[in-house]
Symmetry: C2
Subunit: 228 residues, 2 copies
């Protein structure tokens, strides 16, 4: 199962706030969701949480490599400092045609500094770091960095946020289509993967705004003047 | 006249699209506007254009140093590659208490590459470059980078865009208050000046979106979830 037509969405780091939020939303939209974790028991517990919140959810929990194998889309939702380790652990489970979604942000919190600043990444961004560590034929797409975990988890409310999706055209379109599964999210064509450099840094700006404006639930972004 | 209470707004590079757009808007709001240019005649011609479009406008044109001297707020609206030269030319006209607004973006167009990418600036951003070149006691604030020149110039329409304003608290507040003069602009507290690194790069992203979505008039941004 290496066909991108495969409906399953694996969420590595799906036990964390933002990963679990996406798992809930995609499960609610009827998509099969596989939650991955370094510790399979934690993934299974998170899967039970999703199943309890979303009646009829097609959700399972497993170790990261098992969750990855054959999933059409693999969302990498681990803290930035675990990005490389996680990718190395699942490398042999990835196959050409799969899409890996990078939603990580190189927040300086990774080295004990603040979350309102970013680190410089040699490759340019977390997404480009991910691309440098994935096998040939696997498509890397950048998305979801600016979406509030808190708002994702409030299943009864829309998530008012645009999602800038960048990467090669075809996989980018596939990930843009995923955004339509979550009420309130709007996909915006973010062009080539390197634009993740900008999108990732916006997350640090949003975290600063959350602090200054005292909005723990999370501030999002919308683009104005888009056609349609 | 070095008091920030001085109502005059100097716009250096006020003959360019975005500078002229701000000149029109501030003049329409009743503020005295001084358009500055390297070539005084061009500044005078731009001032006549503003006067023709805005009946009763308090607007004048002059060389950059003359426009700068004593203005409460000096907006630097020159192409990035002219930032340092312009600041060196007006340095002796700046005095403690004045606010210099950096709206430049280090687009790679400055070196003949595209406008959808940015250059790395040693100081971190155009705004921090500006801060490194201004005399002590002059306050540098970053703002207006993401506002479409085209939409500023359409005086009959609102400009639907948030303006992230960053810098030290007091001058930041003064520039946030300026945003309220332009219908549709909303000031957002962008925290310390270094956040200009993020805000400036967003302009390159917006330019890419304008191209991909064929919106020459310009796409803007709004933050969602802000209180009030």
């Amino acid at each position: 199962m290496t066909d991108t037509a495969n409906d399953a969405i694996a969420i590595l780091g799906g036990t964390g706030d933002q990963g679990l939020g996406l798992a809930l939303r995609f499960a609610k939209a009827g998509r099969p969701v596989r939650i991955g974790s370094r510790v399979p028991e934690r993934a299974e517990a998170a899967a039970r949480e999703v199943a309890a919140a979303v009646p009829g959810a097609k959700v399972s929990g497993a170790g990261n490599p098992e969750a990855t194998a054959g999933a059409g889309v693999v969302i990498l939702s681990v803290p930035f400092e675990h990005t490389a380790t996680t990718l190395k652990a699942v490398k042999d489970s990835l196959a050409p045609g799969q899409i890996v979604v990078s939603m990580g942000v190189p927040l300086a919190a990774a080295i004990g500094d603040g979350a309102v600043r970013t680190l410089g990444v040699w490759q340019g961004s977390c997404a480009e770091l991910v691309a440098s560590l994935t096998p040939p034929g696997v498509h890397v797409v950048s998305a979801f960095q600016n979406v509030s975990a808190h708002r994702l988890r409030e299943l009864d409310h829309e998530v008012a946020c645009d999602v800038v999706v960048s990467g090669a055209p075809e996989p980018r379109k596939a990930v843009m289509a995923l955004c339509a599964l979550v009420p309130g999210l709007r996909a915006v064509d973010g062009g080539p993967l390197a634009n993740a450099r900008i999108v990732e840094s916006v997350t640090a700006l949003l975290i600063g705004l959350n602090i200054r404006y005292k909005v723990p639930a999370g501030i999002g972004i919308r683009f104005t003047g888009l056609p349609g």
